[in-house]
Symmetry: C2
Subunit: 449 residues, 2 copies
């Protein structure tokens, strides 16, 4: 008996409609990246395990999909023989960041710095599949590496601004600075606890102020230190007000003050560049990753309940792990799956994505098909998507085909049309029907617009 086909848990088939919608997101993001001079690169799906292991923490190592070198190891189904590390040297990429770092170091002599690249490719994680969490999903990463300039941060915010303007989604860009977090750890007297403090602050939205304070105490902070940090968690007002209040608190930490300077300059640049999207300082924004050293970004959809749909920040030592130190860079990653959910939820996908075909010629027989072929070819050369129904079957079946595929125009050319050299086309939504000389390409094109 034939097997019932299925796909692995946590993976997805994308049908025609979803693929068109996903491509709309990718194309929009790509077109904006390009106007800022970012160039697309692609790296292999599989990386050496030595490249991947140890970069994502112990938990991450477990979530790597490892690949056997070839089917040989399993071909004989001899599962009694132990496998050696030599038969499993590769893994599927877990994100686009580590491959990017590897790429920059490996090709450093061929690259022009500052190097501005983007990458839109799938990544794989052996995560427990659940709603909204997949084992294969796309990331859209954009990074500029090799410059400390805050103009790089600005560009990313401008890109976020333009992408979501084009997609028709209202968003808020939250901005923080890791140096400010470091400064906070310093002024409260626990400079070595910046990670603990950061992790605790990160949970403010989820577990609330009291639980965050409790967690800080558990991590070894004194009640005095926690009291010193508390007003920072309760900051209010606009960015200027927050910055001013922070300057008072941060007096004793040069790093913290540097972070505040960076935030201030970035907000000035945002104003100068005419960024449309709302931006705000959010000191509770820390993100999980430890490698951010300056700006930290997170983008929230304003009219739809979902986690962050884009995020990133500045890092100073991403390429150090591969032997190229002191390469400062900044980047963000757009979450295609969540953006998809937002556009779907807010009904923001363009309507014309629905059908891939503009005009269907019904099939009335071999002679009629021969009559139609040159007209169809001419329309296709003009970029119009045209189908000829392949089989000369009942018209009912052919209408059904047009209907189910949401094809907006139908042409039925039979003996009459052939005899008079005409092409008859019907707009299926308005019911309007019109005849054209088969050579009247401009007329037909105008009708199909």
């Amino acid at each position: 008996m034939a097997q019932k086909p299925s796909i692995p848990k946590g993976t997805r088939d994308f049908g025609q409609q979803e693929t068109a919608e996903r491509n709309y997101i990718f194309d929009t993001i790509r077109s904006v990246f390009k106007t800022y001079g970012f160039a697309q690169i692609e790296t292999p799906s599989m990386e050496n395990l030595s490249t991947l292991l140890g970069k994502y923490g112990e938990e991450g190592d477990k979530l790597l999909f490892r690949i056997l070198n070839s089917g040989d190891a399993f071909a004989s189904a001899d599962f009694s023989k132990p496998l050696t590390p030599q038969v499993c040297e590769k893994g599927l990429r877990y994100d686009l960041t580590v491959p990017f770092a590897r790429y920059v170091v490996q090709h450093q002599n061929d690259l022009v710095f500052p190097f501005k690249r983007f990458q839109i490719q799938p990544v794989w994680r052996a995560d427990r599949p659940q709603k909204g969490r997949y084992r294969e999903f796309y990331q859209c990463d954009v990074d500029a590496i090799g410059s400390n300039s805050l103009l790089c941060e600005l560009e990313l915010i401008q890109i976020i601004d333009k992408v979501f303007e084009k997609l028709g989604v209202n968003v808020l860009v939250k901005i923080n600075n890791r140096k400010v977090l470091t400064g906070l750890a310093e002024i409260c007297g626990f400079p070595d606890k910046v990670v603990d403090i950061t992790v605790a602050i990160d949970k403010l939205d989820k577990i609330g102020l009291d639980a965050v304070k409790e967690e800080m105490l558990q991590k070894g902070l004194t009640p005095e230190a926690v009291a010193l940090l508390e007003p920072v968690l309760l900051l209010e007002g606009d960015s200027a007000a927050k910055l001013a209040r922070m300057r008072e608190i941060m007096g004793a930490s040069p790093t913290g003050l540097k972070g505040l300077d960076e935030l201030e300059e970035l907000f000035e640049l945002i104003a100068a560049a005419g960024v449309r999207t709302k931006t705000e300082i959010d000191l509770s924004l820390a993100r999980g990753l430890n490698y951010y050293t300056g700006a930290i970004f997170e983008v929230k959809a304003l009219d739809f309940q979902i986690g962050s749909i884009c995020g990133g920040g500045r890092y100073d030592n991403l390429t150090g792990i591969f032997g190229l130190p002191n390469m400062s860079g900044v980047g963000v990653s757009f979450g295609a799956d969540r953006i998809y959910d937002v556009l779907k939820g807010l009904d923001k996908f363009p309507k014309d994505l629905r059908s891939s075909t503009t005009l269907l010629f019904a099939n009335m027989g071999a002679a009629e098909a021969g009559y139609i072929l040159p007209v169809a070819a001419a329309l296709r050369s003009e970029g119009i998507a045209v189908e000829i129904y392949p089989d000369s079957v009942k018209l009912k079946k052919q209408f059904d085909y047009a209907d189910r595929k949401a094809i907006p125009f139908l042409s039925i050319c039979g003996e009459t049309e052939m005899a008079s050299g005409q092409i008859n086309i019907k707009n299926l939504s308005t019911g309007l029907q019109q005849s054209f000389s088969k050579d009247d390409l401009p007329g037909i094109l105008a009708f199909l617009k």
Copy 2:
């Protein structure tokens, strides 16, 4: 010490230039597919091993990249424990054909038949890496399934015609029909040896007539049978002449005659549709795969020495393995890597793929950057790729950046330009320099064209 980064053998990084060139190929192919009403779908990179195994022969099974269920199995590096089949249930897809068959069967109730889909995705094979053979490479497959009509074959030839016209490559489309091959096996008295005969004929170009005859004898054909087949291998003249000669030989085989009818009708359709590309019957064309049942196609570049750059054919039972019999379909696959080599070898890539950026604003300091920002934003909104050099460093370094990135236009706006509200732009290839009011967007756009 930091590890020296590298990528797995047989895989590739694609830098900015190669990615742009590859996207040019994919975009060209995609745009043609769409004008014929084919819709894009995507399937997961990993399929269940039960879907993949046994579909590519014993050799193919060995070339499947198998994926361990999670890193857990290897995380503890306990290689003394034997692995069980339960920890390795998935493999990377080997081609786009089997996943397509699986997709059609799994989603048959949601699809509109005839189902016209295309798919442009990477596939993986644990092949021995060598020049021109990779372990990860893209396939571009287009198929129409659920119709017997030869209009489907015609459309694929029209698509081939248009794709290579757009890419500027002269090609020859070789056409055969599997029913004709079956007929040959029947008339020479060895109907059960059609595969052996097909495989032998397939080698004609490589090993020559005598070796093919020798191979047929070794496979059990009688000298009389081989003598009967010999004139078929030596057919000359145009398609009409070949068809006429074949009809004489094929008299006794209804299947063979049906194949000749199909060939004849297809050539009539090709003429009626005005296909520009040269098409010819090639009875030595058999291709490796056993599942073709009707038309077989192969495309050769005429001005560049390389294997086939596109090929395919009609199959009647692709979905049968997954429980959906009697689904006839026809498809071809474009070989992106070989097409890339052809375009590179013939210097056919458009020149404007080279740079991703049209205009670079030199960075003369913070105030000047602030002056430029709104102009840059306005140009980007018009779709122009604009960069502002992020750091205010020596102009020599900034010029170098423009030069190495082949950016065609450079703007240096200093105090003078700021004072007079001007934007100064230089065409770096002609040396022509011009000043514009900073609000004269149309003027600037015209200069950048």
